[in-house]
Symmetry: C2
Subunit: 300 residues, 2 copies
């Protein structure tokens, strides 16, 4: 098999596990209030790549752990990511009409229900992570560390902080420090904690946890730069969302700040650093190396 075929198979297998678990954890569409549940499911099953949960499972696998044990936390990470997309797309925020080739949540369900669907997903993520019945093998004290880490990465000192600075920087003269703050907090923090929590739950030691978290920070930043590049040069059909929107909106982004070539070089360097981070795992880190390369080479 080629590199692409192997990576593709790996991602598909893991995505299937995540999708099945999400389906099992979520209420059916006809559960009352069904407008809310439909809105939640609409965005959660809109065809996301499941990068964060796949990285959580991959981290557990890399340190020799049982990936099934990490599924509830992996799915919670996807719920947090999905809530952030629903809220980011709102008219008061990025005002996006299309996401993954489909109308955004508020376009289908209205703004009020979209806000509430985001709130419900964020809350359900923490509900799921506290379901010790689904994770009887996990030490409760360790699970609380994971909950705390994920909440920190998602909150004012993480994703929400990054999104705030992103929104408030629109149309302003940007600087690299601010852009790095945005990328690190808005994107890399949740990706890094996805790897860290998978490693912790699988019983990794401190050196292993730190290596996987560092890998996460590096590919998280690379992922965001690649996203910025796709917004400039990507194919709208493949992306399933509008291109050129960063520029139109005066959003702080890598290509506008340092140019396309320097951005590409930066993404490449981050990928190499990520691959270095996981060198200690030798052959077991093969999927993580594939994913690091995929992150910057993807077309959607």
């Amino acid at each position: 098999m080629t590199f692409d075929a192997k990576l593709d198979g790996y991602l598909k297998d893991k995505k299937k596990l995540v999708d099945q678990a999400l389906e099992a954890y979520l209420p059916a569409e006809n559960v009352y209030p069904s407008a809310l549940i439909q809105a939640v499911r609409y965005s959660l099953f809109a065809g996301g790549k499941r990068i964060r949960p796949v990285l959580c499972l991959a981290a557990a696998e890399t340190v020799g752990g049982d990936i099934k044990t990490t599924l509830p936390v992996a799915c919670a990470l996807e719920m947090i990511h999905t809530y952030s997309l629903i809220h980011d797309d709102l008219p008061a925020m990025d005002n996006d009409d299309v996401r993954r080739g489909k109308p955004t949540n508020h376009k289908v369900f209205g703004e009020a229900v979209a806000i509430l669907a985001g709130d419900a997903l964020l809350t359900e993520a923490f509900h799921l992570m506290a379901r010790t019945d689904l994770m009887p093998e996990i030490d409760p004290a360790k699970l609380l560390v994971v909950v705390r880490d994920i909440a920190q990465a998602a909150g004012y000192d993480g994703m929400v902080g990054g999104q705030t600075v992103d929104i408030l920087s629109e149309g302003r003269q940007g600087d690299p420090d601010t852009l790095n703050y945005i990328h690190y907090h808005k994107t890399a923090a949740l990706i890094a904690v996805s790897l860290k929590s998978g490693a912790l739950l699988a019983g990794a030691n401190t050196v292993e946890v730190n290596a996987l978290e560092a890998y996460g920070h590096h590919i998280g930043l690379a992922f965001q730069i690649a996203d910025d590049l796709l917004n400039v040069e990507g194919n709208k059909e493949l992306l399933g969302k509008n291109t050129g929107s960063d520029r139109e909106r005066g959003k702080l982004a890598y290509p506008a700040l340092v140019g396309v070539e320097v951005s590409r070089q930066k993404a490449f360097e981050l990928t190499q650093a990520a691959i270095e981070d996981v060198a200690l795992f030798e052959e077991r880190a093969l999927p993580l190396r594939w994913i690091a390369e995929y992150v910057v080479e993807r077309s959607s």
Copy 2:
């Protein structure tokens, strides 16, 4: 001292503990991104009565526990309540301009930051509840039960579900079942879990936990009916928000559905049921009896 003076002193003492703890747990206003932190602090310190955290502490005290141990969870409950107010006030939801006598969060900070401040508060609530360093005496497995219960009461099967039905019922012909669903989920669920979690953390047995949770459901429903009555007959200055807004907006509310007199009678019966629920605690339930009576007699 009169009844009012004793209750007043009790509520003030407990509120002070909660306010001091919230201050200690939150970042300072100048922490980056300061627009977000200011928005979070603006609503959290807008002069709320701290009913939910006070009930959490009161439950712990009633079963003879150490109330200090429950402070992080009590404060998390207030964060969840405050996030829900910020999001409920948004233009896409209830579109309220005034709350507790001050402009609502989005009026001061704009819609985008208000949405993000709500998201940050909800996330920080779960971060705080996972901070075992603040609660070394609490068994981690028990803390996870509390997190799970609170997340359930706050999510699609609790507060968010109730708010969804509330919003979607506006301007429609209401029925008592729908109104009861709204009140139970939107208000009573979080109040009941405030008592339940205080009791659990303080080491209550099952009979005690159930009694306090039942008390919470009863006063939670009474509290919401009293709120509906205040919206019809209350004093705008004392309330710090506009009256008559439920009617204008075609909101489903008790007085409109069954009349003012029947609503008053219902609130009274619920209060008596709540007082019955905690009879087993005898003299130790005195503050809970005061609070039950206060809930329906308050003017703001």
